[in-house]
C-alpha cells in the first residue's frame, strides 16, 4: 500500500514568510507518514522567492523520513522574475526538482510517478513517448489548467497558457492526475482516471474562500481504484468575505456573530456597502476594525468601494423609513436570499440618494 500527499500552489513568498512556512511545516508533517510528497507546481511565488527561501525548503525536506520521497515540479510562478537564471541550476535537494522534459519518471512503493514540468504549451503531447504501463498505479503530476467545465470557473486573473486536455492524461495511462495551478480545490473522475486540484495550499489572493486543502491518495494493491480524500490545513486559515451594510451614520453594525467563526490564521475582508453621511467616517472604520479584531485574525481589511456618501442621509426620513422596513424583511437563512436582501438595501439607498440629490 502506498500513501501519497498531493499539494500545490503554496506560493512560498518572502513577504509572507511566516505564514507560508507555517503551512509548509504542516504539509511536511502530514507527509512524514506518506511515501510520496508531490508538489504540483508554484511551490514558490517567484524565482526570486525561490532563491531566498530554498534554504528553508531544503531544511524541511531534508527532515522528512527516508521513506517519504518528495517530488516538486516547477509551475509558472517559478519562472517569474528569473532574470537570466535557469531552473536547472536550482538545487532543492537530491532528485527533488523534476525538470526533465517532457516528463521525468519515478518509482517507489509500488507506484509510478510521471512528473511534467510547467510549459506554456502542451500541444506536442501527442508525440510524447509513453512508457509501457505495468501493473502499478500511475500518477501524473502537472501544472496548468484542465480544459473542462468543472475546472473552468470564472476567470479571475489566472495567468494564461499551460492549458491541457484530459486526453493528455488518458494517453499517459494515468490513474490519478496530481494537478496544480487552479487555486480552488476541485476533482473529477472520468472512467478510470481521477483528476484533482488540491487548491492553493495557503490563501494567496482575495477570493480564495473555503478551507485550504491537500489531497491524500491511497493505493492498495488489491483495490483497483485509488482512494482520494482531502485534508484541511489549519495553519493556512481561510479567506472570509462578509457583506456588511453600514449604518446610515457610517458606523459598523454588530459583527460579533460573524466574528465568531473567525480563526487566527484567517484573512477577513469586509465588503461594506450603503449610503452614509460622510465618507471620511468610512476611513476611520478600518482603524477601528484593526483595533478591535487585528489580533484575532491574521489579516482584516475593509472594502469601501460600494460605499457612497450623502451628507445628512442619516436624518432623512425616507432613508430611515426604508431601512426600518428593510430590516423587517431580513431572511432567516444565509444564502441567496440574504444576498438579495443585502443588495436590495444597496439599490434602495442608491435610489434614495439619487432622489435626494435631485431634490437639492
Amino acid at each position: 500500500m502506498a500513501r501519497i500527499i498531493h499539494c500545490a500552489d503554496l506560493h512560498l513568498a518572502s513577504d509572507e514568510a511566516a505564514y507560508s512556512l507555517a503551512v509548509l511545516d504542516e504539509i511536511v508533517a502530514l507527509a512524514a507518514s506518506a511515501d510520496f510528497l508531490l508538489v504540483a507546481g508554484d511551490l514558490f511565488d517567484s524565482f526570486a522567492d525561490l532563491e531566498r527561501m530554498k534554504g528553508e525548503l531544503r531544511g524541511r525536506l531534508a527532515a522528512l523520513p527516508p521513506r517519504c520521497r518528495a517530488i516538486v515540479i516547477p509551475g509558472n510562478h517559478e519562472h517569474l522574475r528569473m532574470g537570466g537564471a535557469s531552473l536547472a541550476s536550482v538545487d532543492l535537494g537530491p532528485g527533488i526538482f523534476a525538470l526533465e522534459r517532457p516528463f521525468a519518471r519515478f518509482e517507489g512503493a509500488g507506484v509510478e510517478i510521471l512528473a511534467i514540468p510547467f510549459a506554456e504549451s502542451y500541444a506536442d503531447y501527442l508525440e510524447w513517448p509513453v512508457p509501457p504501463k505495468g501493473a502499478r498505479a500511475r500518477i501524473v503530476m502537472a501544472h496548468g489548467t484542465l480544459a473542462s467545465e468543472l475546472f473552468a470557473g470564472v476567470p479571475d486573473g489566472e495567468e494564461p497558457g499551460g492549458v491541457f486536455d484530459a486526453d493528455l492524461f488518458a494517453r499517459l495511462g494515468c490513474d490519478y492526475a496530481a494537478l496544480g495551478h487552479i487555486h480552488a480545490a476541485r476533482s473529477e473522475t472520468s472512467g478510470a482516471l481521477t483528476l484533482s486540484y488540491p487548491g492553493s495550499a495557503r490563501v494567496w489572493r482575495r477570493g480564495e474562500t473555503g478551507p485550504r486543502t491537500v489531497c491524500s491518495i491511497e493505493v492498495r494493491p488489491d483495490v483497483p481504484r485509488l482512494e482520494l480524500s482531502t485534508i484541511a490545513l489549519a495553519s493556512a486559515g481561510e479567506y472570509r468575505e462578509h457583506e456588511v451594510p453600514l449604518n446610515l451614520d457610517g458606523s459598523l453594525p454588530d459583527l460579533s456573530a460573524i466574528a465568531e467563526g473567525w480563526r487566527p490564521a484567517d484573512w477577513v475582508r469586509l465588503l461594506v456597502s450603503g449610503v452614509i453621511n460622510d465618507e471620511h467616517a468610512a476611513r476611520g472604520l478600518e482603524r477601528a476594525l484593526e483595533a478591535t479584531y487585528g489580533g484575532r485574525v491574521r489579516r482584516i481589511e475593509l472594502d469601501r468601494e460600494r460605499v457612497l456618501a450623502f451628507d445628512g442621509i442619516s436624518s432623512e426620513p425616507i432613508a430611515r423609513k426604508f431601512i426600518e422596513l428593510w430590516a423587517a424583511e431580513e431572511p432567516a437563512t444565509n444564502g441567496a436570499e440574504r444576498e438579495i436582501w443585502l443588495k436590495a438595501r444597496e439599490i434602495g439607498l442608491l435610489k434614495i440618494k439619487d432622489a435626494l440629490e435631485r431634490r437639492a
Binding site: L126, G153, V154, D165, W326, K343, A344, R359
Partner: protein
C-alpha cells in the same frame, strides 16, 4: 421667539435695532430696507454656509463685514436655510426667492414632510423596469441576451468538443499509420541490410578480381623478368649473323654445288664419252656399209646419166598450166579490152599475148621430149640396188627411197641422196670422233677441277661447322631456329613489356619497380580484406542481380514510406496543431459560459433585489398616500377658510402639477388654469398647511396678499391668526400697504408695527 434684531452694520443699516412681538409688521416702501431686514433675519435664523448659494448671495450683496445679531426669548431658532426659504418665508405668487435648486417650493417642502420629501411611489416606479420580469424590460432583455450568448457559447463548445473527439479519433488513425510506418521502416532496414550484404559480395568479388589483375600484373612482371633473363642469356642471337651464316652456307652449298656440278659434269662427260664412243663405233660400222652403198649408187647414177631433178617437170607443168589459162583469159578478154583501150595499147596487148602463147607451147614440147626415154633404165637400177644394197631386209622398216622412187628424177635423186648420205656419214664420223676426243680432254680437266672443288667444299664445311660450333649450334638451321626463338623471345619480351606497361598505366604507376611495390602493397591490403576468396563471378553476378532487385524494392518501400510520412506528419501536424489549441479554446468557452451564468445570476439577483426595494418603497408610498390624502384635506380646509368657500382640492401626487382645484365654475382644474387670486390663495393655504407640520418655525410673510382682494386678504389674516393660535409661531409681515397696520391690529392681539424710514 425673536425679541430683537440688531443690525450693527448690515447693508444700509448701521446700528439699527428692531424689537419684535409675536406679530410684527414692518411697513415701508420699496427701497426702505425690507429686503435687507429680511436677509438679516434670514441669516440670523438660518446661518447659511458661506459657500452656499445663499451665503454667496449675502456676501455679494452685503459684503464680508456685515454684522447683525438677534436676541431670543427662550430657545434660539436654528432653521435650515432652504426650509426657511421654502416653507416659512412666504411671498406672493410668482416672486420666488432663489433656492439651491430650480425645483419649485413645493418640491423643496418635501424634506419637512414624510419620506424626506421624496415620493417613495416615484422611487418604486423608478424601480419598475429593474424589478420587472416582463420580457420587454431591461432585466429580462439582458437575461435573454445572456441566454442567446450562452446558447452560442454552448454551441461553440459542442462544436469544439466534437472537433476534439474527431481529432482524437483521427490521431488514432494517424497512430495506425505510424505503426505501419514503423513496420515499413523495419522492412526497409531489412532490405537495406540485405542489399548491403549483396554489395559486400560484389565488392568482395571486385576485390578478388582486382587482386587477380594485380596478381597477373605481378605475374606479367615475373614473366617479363624471366623472359628478359632468357633473352639475356641468348643475347648472342640479338645480332643478326644470319647473313654470315648464309654466306657460309651459301659458300658451302656453292662449293658443294660446284663440286657436284663438276662431278655431274664429269659424269655427264663420261656418259657422253661412252655414248660418243658407242656412236663412233656405230658410225664406224655403218660407215662401212654406207660407203659401199654410196659407191654403188654412184655407179648406178652414172649409169643413168643425168641428174634429174624432177622438180623442173613439175615446174614446167605448172607454168604450162598457168600459161594456158592465161591465154584463154586473154583471148576472151581481148576483144573487149581492145575495144576499150586506145588502139596502140590494144595492139601491144595483143602482141604480148601471142608471145606468151608461143612460149608455153615450146615448154610443153620440151617436157614431153625429156620424159620419154627415161623409163627403161630405172628398173635396172632398182634391181641392182635391191641386190647389193642391204635394203629390202626385213627390219629396215622404211622403204628404201631408191626402191620407192617412181620417177626418173626420183630415182636419180634417191641415188644421189645415197651418195650424199655416205658423204655425210663420213663427215659425221669424223665429227664424232673429234667430239670424242674433246670429251676425253674435258674429262681429264674435269677431274682436276673436282679435286680442288672437293677441297673447297670441305673447307667451306669446316668453316661452317666451326661457326656453328662456336655458337653451340648443331646445325645451321638451328641458328635460325635459335634466332627465331630469340626473336620470338624478344617479341615475347616486348609483349610482356607491353602488358606490364598497360598494367602500370592501369595501376597508375610510373614504372615496373613502382608496379611491383604498388601491386604487392595493394595485394597485401586486399588479402587482408578478402574473406571469401572462393567467391565466383557467378556468385557476384547473382548478387548483383539480387541487388538490383533489392534496390528496386527499396525504392518502392521508400516511396511508400514518404507517402506515409507525409500523411502521418501532415495528419499529425494538423491534429497536433488543432488539438494543441483546442484545450485553450475549450477552456475559453467554458469560462465564457461560467461568466455568462454568473452574470445571469447577478441579473436575477439584482432584479429580485430591485423588486424587494420596490416593494419596500411601495409600502412606504402607501403610507405616503394616506398622508397625502390627509394633506389634501388640510389644504382643502385651509383653502376653504381662505376663499370662504368649500372647494375641493385634489392632490394625487405630491407635486404642483398634480394638484387640482375646483374653480368657481365647479370644474376641476390644474393650478395654471386657475385665476391668479385663486391660485395664490391655494398656494398660500398649502404652504401654511405644510409649514404647520414642522415642530418649530417662524412665518415671514413678504407682501403675501398682493394679489388678493380685500375680502380674501381679510380671510387670509383670519386664517393666519388661527394658525398662530394653533402653532404659537412668531409672525413677521413686511408690507408697503399702510392699511395693513389696521388690519393687523384688528386681527392680532399682540402686534407690533415698525415703520421703516
Amino acid at each position: 421667539m425673536i425679541r430683537r434684531l440688531t443690525l450693527a452694520s448690515f447693508g444700509k443699516f448701521a446700528g439699527a435695532s428692531f424689537p419684535f412681538r409675536p406679530v410684527t409688521l414692518f411697513l415701508g416702501d420699496n427701497e426702505s430696507g425690507k429686503s435687507t431686514l429680511f436677509d438679516a433675519l434670514f441669516e440670523q435664523l438660518c446661518s447659511p454656509k458661506g459657500n452656499s448659494k445663499q451665503g454667496m448671495r449675502l456676501k455679494e450683496r452685503y459684503g464680508e463685514k456685515r454684522l447683525a445679531s438677534v436676541e431670543f426669548d427662550g430657545a434660539p431658532l436654528d432653521l435650515d436655510p432652504d426650509e426657511f426659504l421654502s416653507l416659512f418665508a412666504i411671498d406672493s405668487g410668482d416672486i420666488k426667492l432663489p433656492m439651491e435648486s430650480s425645483a419649485s417650493w413645493l418640491d423643496r417642502v418635501k424634506s419637512k414632510l414624510f419620506s424626506g420629501g421624496i415620493d417613495p411611489a416615484a422611487l418604486a416606479r423608478s424601480l419598475e423596469g429593474e424589478a420587472s420580469t416582463q420580457g420587454n424590460r431591461a432585466p429580462a432583455k439582458r437575461l435573454a441576451t445572456l441566454e442567446r450568448e450562452r446558447l452560442a457559447a454552448e454551441r461553440e463548445l459542442e462544436g469544439l468538443a466534437s472537433r476534439r473527439s474527431e481529432l482524437i479519433g483521427r490521431e488514432e488513425g494517424v497512430r495506425g499509420s505510424s505503426d505501419r510506418l514503423a513496420a515499413l521502416e523495419r522492412a526497409l532496414e531489412a532490405k537495406l541490410a540485405a542489399a548491403k550484404e549483396r554489395e559486400a559480395l560484389v565488392e568482395e568479388r571486385r576485390r578478388i578480381v582486382e587482386r587477380e589483375s594485380l596478381r597477373s600484373a605481378l605475374e606479367s612482371l615475373d614473366r617479363l623478368e624471366s623472359l628478359r633473363r632468357e633473352e639475356e642469356r641468348t643475347s648472342g642471337y640479338r645480332g643478326d649473323e644470319s647473313g654470315k651464316l648464309l654466306d657460309l652456307e651459301r659458300a658451302l652449298r656453292a662449293a658443294e654445288e660446284a663440286r657436284s656440278r663438276a662431278a655431274a659434269r664429269a659424269g655427264l662427260l663420261a656418259e657422253r664419252r661412252a655414248v660418243e664412243a658407242r656412236k663412233v663405233a656405230e658410225l664406224a660400222s655403218t660407215n662401212e656399209r654406207i660407203a659401199r652403198d654410196a659407191a654403188l649408187a654412184s655407179q648406178l647414177r652414172r649409169s643413168l646419166g643425168r641428174s634429174p631433178t624432177g622438180r623442173p617437170a613439175l615446174a614446167v607443168g605448172l607454168v604450162a598450166g598457168a600459161g594456158v589459162l592465161g591465154a584463154i583469159a586473154g583471148a576472151l578478154a581481148l576483144p573487149r579490152a581492145i575495144a576499150s583501150l586506145p588502139a596502140w595499147l590494144g595492139a601491144i596487148a595483143g602482141a604480148v599475148g601471142l608471145l606468151v602463147v608461143a612460149l608455153v607451147v615450146l615448154i610443153l614440147l620440151g617436157a614431153l621430149a625429156s620424159a620419154g626415154p627415161r623409163r627403161g633404165g630405172m628398173e635396172a637400177v632398182r634391181d641392182e640396188w635391191r641386190r647389193r644394197a642391204g635394203v629390202g631386209d626385213s627390219g629396215s622398216g622404211a622403204s628404201d627411197d631408191v626402191l620407192a622412187a617412181s620417177t626418173y628424177e626420183g630415182l636419180v635423186a634417191a641415188l644421189a641422196a645415197k651418195e650424199r648420205g655416205a658423204d655425210e656419214l663420213a663427215l659425221r664420223l669424223g665429227r664424232e670422233r673429234s667430239e670424242l676426243e674433246a670429251l676425253e680432254g674435258q674429262i681429264r680437266s674435269g677431274s682436276g677441277e673436282i679435286e680442288s672443288l672437293d677441297r673447297a667444299a670441305a673447307e667451306a664445311e669446316r668453316a661452317l661447322s666451326r661457326w656453328l660450333a662456336e655458337r653451340g649450334l648443331p646445325s645451321a638451321p638451328a641458328y635460325q631456329a635459335a634466332r627465331a626463338e630469340h626473336a620470338a623471345l624478344a617479341s615475347r619480351v616486348k609483349e610482356a613489356e607491353g602488358e606490364v606497361g598497360k598494367a602500370c598505366e592501369r595501376l597508375g604507376v610510373r614504372d615496373e619497380r613502382a608496379l611491383k611495390v604498388e601491386a604487392t602493397v595493394r595485394i597485401g591490403k586486399l588479402d587482408a580484406l578478402i574473406s571469401r576468396p572462393g567467391l565466383s563471378e557467378a556468385d557476384a553476378r547473382r548478387a548483383e542481380a539480387e541487388l538490383a532487385g533489392l534496390r528496386a524494392e527499396t525504392e518502392e518501400l521508400r516511396e511508400e514510406k514518404t507517402r506515409l510520412v507525409a500523411s502521418v506528419s501532415g495528419g499529425l501536424g494538423e491534429v497536433k496543431g488543432s488539438l494543441g489549441e483546442l484545450p485553450a479554446r475549450i477552456l475559453e468557452c467554458e469560462r465564457t459560459l461560467a461568466r455568462l451564468a454568473a452574470e445571469a445570476r447577478g441579473v436575477e439577483q439584482a432584479r429580485s433585489a430591485s423588486a424587494l426595494a420596490k416593494r419596500i418603497f411601495e409600502t412606504m408610498a402607501e403610507d405616503s398616500g394616506l398622508l397625502l390624502a390627509e394633506l389634501s384635506g388640510e389644504i382643502a380646509s385651509a383653502f376653504a377658510g381662505l376663499v370662504a368657500e368649500e372647494r375641493s382640492v385634489e392632490l394625487s401626487r405630491f407635486d404642483v402639477e398634480s394638484a387640482r382645484v375646483v374653480d368657481s365654475g365647479g370644474s376641476m382644474r390644474p393650478l395654471d388654469q386657475l385665476s391668479e387670486g385663486t391660485r395664490d390663495s391655494f398656494l398660500f393655504a398649502a404652504r401654511l398647511t405644510l409649514a404647520a407640520r414642522s415642530p418649530e418655525g417662524i412665518l415671514v410673510l413678504d407682501d403675501p396678499f398682493l394679489s388678493l382682494d380685500a375680502a380674501r386678504t381679510r380671510s387670509a389674516l383670519r386664517y393666519l391668526a388661527e394658525f398662530q393660535g394653533r402653532t404659537g409661531w412668531q409672525i413677521v409681515i413686511f408690507s408697503k400697504d399702510s392699511g395693513m397696520e389696521r388690519m393687523v391690529a384688528d386681527r392680532f392681539k399682540e402686534a407690533g408695527v415698525v415703520r421703516l424710514p
